[in-house]
């Protein structure tokens, strides 16, 4: 099992998920009704509505962003450093314990 922690933008709410490896973090979030993840395009990397922020430490550990992902992250309502699209993060042991801070709004 892989632990994924979603945090509200102000850190007030925390939801810890224990999910099986496989699939994307976005899919895990939807399956567990994480309100702050919308995923309008279903993981096709055209909408940016599944973005979240990680710590600089986690950011360097994750596989690099594609050009399209980084473009989408520039155009979210409130762009910040260390953003990732959850549809591009695979659920594996390598991300066990990751903390994803949700934005104030996805769109």
């Amino acid at each position: 099992m892989v632990k994924i922690i979603f945090e509200s933008h102000d850190g007030a709410d925390r939801t810890e998920l224990e999910v099986d490896a496989g699939g994307s973090v976005m899919e895990a979030a939807l399956a567990n009704n994480i309100d702050g993840i919308l995923a309008d395009c279903g993981g096709s990397m055209v909408c940016g509505t599944c973005h979240a922020f990680v710590s600089p430490e986690w950011f360097t550990k994750l596989p690099p962003q594609s050009e399209m992902e980084s473009c989408l992250l520039d155009f979210v309502p409130d762009p910040q450093d260390y953003g990732r699209l959850c549809c591009q993060l695979e659920v594996t042991e390598a991300i066990d314990g990751i903390v994803l801070r949700l934005p104030t709004q996805q769109r």
């Binding site: 395009c41 399209m68 989408l72 709004q105």
Partner: protein, 405 residues
């Protein structure tokens, strides 16, 4: 006049999957278009073949639609005209399957992203306010569709593009005509007219660039190379149709719904922050665009055998009303839980509507500005509302009586 199109059922379609549905004017459909289409969702097989309009598959339920619009390797977006015609209109990036659509989408993101729309909010609000004011000045009985819904998104879109505002009605009429026909000759003639108009404006922008989307399109580079005039035309064609006819139609349905819910009107006046929930729910309930696809290779999906070149129509407008996906799907409830408010009104997958953020903002802001001016409203009693069907469904009028604040 449209020439009659022969019914057709190809040999690979089993009899138990045949179900009659004419998306251009089905006898089951009333001006409550979405509600009346429930019968298609519930009585027909989840994926069925209609012999109408040259014969095509129809997909009406949420999960199946999502699969079709996301699986571009089987269900290609390269051709979208039902019935099929020779040299069908070509839209960029819509008719390009991944990865070829991506550079074009990326080029358009700066204009349609959530960030861009946030910055555009003041302009949108200005249009909303002035268009509502003008309409309300006409007094009771004002036709919301003609005076507001048809004018508002189109005005914002034309300004965004940098199109001449004095030609608004000309463009609006062209777009309505395009969406109202399935006649091959007419599609070509109207498409040609739209492209010609857009090309004229592109040429004007080339001579005199401005800070607008059409000037931006002239400078788009894909893999370092400028795009061709043909590609620019195909982009403008798509943006034109997307910008003219979609929000206008959703807004008409949304305001009709709200007209019949006086308590909700009061709630939105008292709590304007609930208007974004109203917007989400209206978008779930009142999609207007259906997505056609063409089968790219012989495939078996959902246990159904599809043959290369079969056409498939996804009924996005009723995707959010699928009871299998959303509990009490036919109830308009702005307080529904996120997981019971799923919709594919904007489609999904690589061709998801690029204007969705703009559309949501436009609807929300229009309602916000409306209730700064109107304390309650109703549909003029005794009105029989007209509508049209096709790839884009629409109310053709909505006369309102209102009380000003």
């Amino acid at each position: 006049m449209s020439s009659p199109i022969a019914n057709h059922i190809p040999a690979h379609v089993p009899e138990n999957l045949v179900f009659n549905y004419d998306y251009h004017g089905d006898p089951r459909v009333t001006n409550e278009v979405h509600a009346s289409l429930k019968t298609i969702q519930d009585d027909a097989p989840p994926v069925f073949y209609t012999p109408k309009n040259g014969g095509h598959w129809v997909v009406s339920r949420f999960d199946e639609i999502k699969k079709v619009v996301e699986d571009y390797e089987v269900f290609s977006a390269k051709e979208m005209t039902i019935p099929r015609i020779e040299n069908p209109p070509f839209f960029i990036p819509l008719n390009l399957d991944p990865p070829n659509n991506m550079p074009f989408r990326q080029a358009l993101m700066p204009a349609f992203s959530p960030k861009a729309i946030k910055e555009l909010e003041g302009k949108i609000r200005h249009w909303a306010g002035s268009i509502i004011d003008e309409a309300l000045a006409k007094g009771n009985g004002v036709d919301f569709v003609h005076e507001i819904a048809s004018v508002y998104p189109v005005s914002i879109f034309m300004e965004l593009m940098g199109m001449p505002m004095d030609r608004l009605w000309e463009f609006r009429t062209l777009s309505e005509a395009f969406f109202s026909t399935n006649d091959q000759e007419k599609i070509h003639q109207l498409g040609g007219q739209i492209v010609m108009n857009m090309t004229e404006i592109l040429e004007e922008k080339r001579a005199k660039p401005c800070d607008d989307l059409m000037s931006h399109i002239l400078n788009i580079k894909v893999k370092g190379e400028p795009i061709s005039l043909g590609e620019m035309q195909n982009m403008c064609f798509l943006l034109f149709l997307g910008g003219m006819d979609t929000v206008a139609n959703v807004t008409g349905y949304a305001f009709r719904q709200l007209a019949n819910m006086p308590e909700l009107q009061q709630r939105l006046i008292d709590n304007p922050s609930d208007i974004s929930k109203f917007t989400d729910e209206a978008i779930r309930m009142f999609g207007v665009i259906s997505n056609p696809r063409i089968v790219a290779k012989d495939s078996t999906v959902f246990g159904v055998d599809f043959k290369k070149d079969d056409m498939v129509l996804c009924l996005l407008p009723i995707s959010g009303r699928d009871e299998r996906k959303n509990k009490n799907a036919h109830v308009f409830d702005i307080d529904r839980a996120k997981e019971e408010g799923s919709t594919l009104t904007f489609s999904s997958g690589p061709h998801m509507c690029i204007g969705s953020f703009l559309a949501r903002a436009e609807i929300r802001i229009l309602v916000e500005e409306w209730f700064k001016r109107v304390s309650k409203y109703e549909i003029v009693p005794g009105t029989e509302l007209g509508f049209r069907m096709g790839f884009s469904v629409a109310l053709t009028q909505l006369p309102l009586n209102f009380q000003k604040i």
